[in-house]
Symmetry: C2
Subunit: 256 residues, 2 copies
């Protein structure tokens, strides 16, 4: 059974997409079969993996509406072992369009029942909100991976996020667990980063990954080349830390 | 008549809240009467202005649902001349709750008809999405101010944002204009920032503010003290640039 991990945080710009793309690529390069599902209408994971929007025939939008099975929406990326279900802009209307649909929170879970068995991990990149797309991801997921930017506003949103997780556990997915908390854009030169990191470790204890992602300009350059960091600049600090993170995620999965 | 400016961009973490708080504070300190409306369930503008969530009696949520007039939700901030309509977490459910309400896109515009006449500017801080809250802000606004982070993914979202603006102009608010485009988190040491800034200037031409907001750690520290930058550290670069921006916005408004 594949492990479905939702990468979610309603705070914007905390590194959800950067984590989906680079963690996915590093795990695939370590020999795991990985599927990334882009459920954000911004479709940043789709372009971050170099997919041209015009070439997309089937997308997560049509899969959720039941117009096409998940298998037919899966496409390859430039990384062997890493596949993608792309997003498109029509997903932006789905939140309102799906209101009258029964069990609208379970559409992704239903779609994933069509998942080919060779995938070991599924990573779902969520939009910056706690709306229907994120709820779909949390309902379908075995666990949630929470990227947290080392900034004050990012800290504030945690209570709201954890309340949503508890609501999903109570009503939609009792099996949902916390995969881990990832500190991102850490800048060791500022007190703020250290203070936020300390606070997060106090709150989440051993659920915080040992790997901390520093602010690294190569990580923000890679998407403009449509490549994950491990292909864009494998030797840089940004690539090394996502490699380390991939090892931690795989090791935790094997512990079970 | 007050000038209502929506601060919007569906890309997360680009500086919407930082601009609402600091532009609002600087304009108020220049003698303008300013009301900031926080229509984001994250309520970052509310806490960035030092308002304790527990002290809030009326919020934008109850105003939109018509349960309280706007006037009764207006509270003071630590800055003379700057008032706030705060947000709370119950706003997160509004998107779905308001689906059956007729003219749900015009609720903010209706609420603002109760605005006391002494306000010269109203700034509306939007969430990172193109959902109902942002559409409400665009329907009520005279103009939109678009913060753009100098990063690749932020560039990608512009087409989608401008399509939404055109849709709102066609169906809900023909008078909506572009107030200006603000380059944020500019880091002169990286090629990426310069490339993105050049691209944005090519696309938006003279609509791009002369003032560019650099990456400045004091700007990200100020919210943890509940103060705008002009009170937290008035001499720093972050305060100077928001002061310059306030001058540009006021000058543009006087030109009409
Ligand atoms: N460690 C890092 N160092 C430097 N830049 C980074 C890092 N991680 C992400 N970025 C950049 O910061 C911006 C925000 O990251 P990203 O888009 O991955 O966040 P997100 O949470 O997916 O945003 P959204 O909420 O809009 O979906 C992007 O431009 C990205 O390239
Ligand atoms: N010029 C700047 N220099 C350094 N940090 C900044 C700057 N502008 C904003 N920040 C910080 O970057 C983060 C994102 O900014 P902010 O929260 O204002 O963006 P936003 O667009 O309102 O995010 P969201 O999409 O979640 O509403 C915050 O932690 C903020 O303190
Ligand atoms: Mg993203
Ligand atoms: Mg904000």
């Amino acid at each position: 059974m594949p492990r479905v991990i939702a990468i979610a945080n309603q705070k914007g710009g905390v590194g959800k997409t950067t984590t989906a793309v680079n963690l996915g690529a590093c795990m695939a390069q370590m020999g795991q079969r990985v599927l990334v599902v882009d459920i954000d209408p911004q479709a940043n994971t789709t372009s971050g993996l170099g997919v041209d929007r015009r070439s997309i025939r089937e997308s997560i939008y049509r899969v959720l509406l039941g117009q096409t099975p998940l298998r037919r929406a899966i496409i390859g990326t430039g990384v062997p072992g890493l596949d993608l279900v792309p997003s498109t802009v029509d997903l932006a209307g789905a939140e309102i369009e799906l209101v009258p649909v029964p069990r609208r929170e379970h559409l992704l879970k239903q779609a994933l029942s069509d998942l080919p068995s060779e995938y070991r991990f599924v990573l779902v990149d969520c939009p910056p909100s706690l709306g229907l797309m994120t709820v779909n991801a949390l309902s379908a997921a075995d666990s949630i991976l929470i990227p947290i930017q080392c900034e004050y506003y990012a800290l504030e949103g945690l209570t709201q996020l954890m309340n949503t997780v508890r609501l999903v556990q109570a009503r939609l997915n009792p099996g949902l667990r916390l995969e881990g908390v990832l500190l991102t854009m850490f800048d060791g030169r500022t007190n703020l980063s250290t203070q936020v990191a300390d606070e997060v470790r106090r709150y989440f204890k051993d659920k915080v990954y040992q790997t901390v992602i520093p602010r690294n300009v190569r990580l923000s350059e890679a998407p403009s080349h449509g490549k994950p960091i491990s292909l864009y600049d494998a030797q840089c600090k940004g690539a090394q830390v996502y490699w380390d993170l991939a090892k931690e995620v795989i090791a935790n999965a094997e512990k079970g």
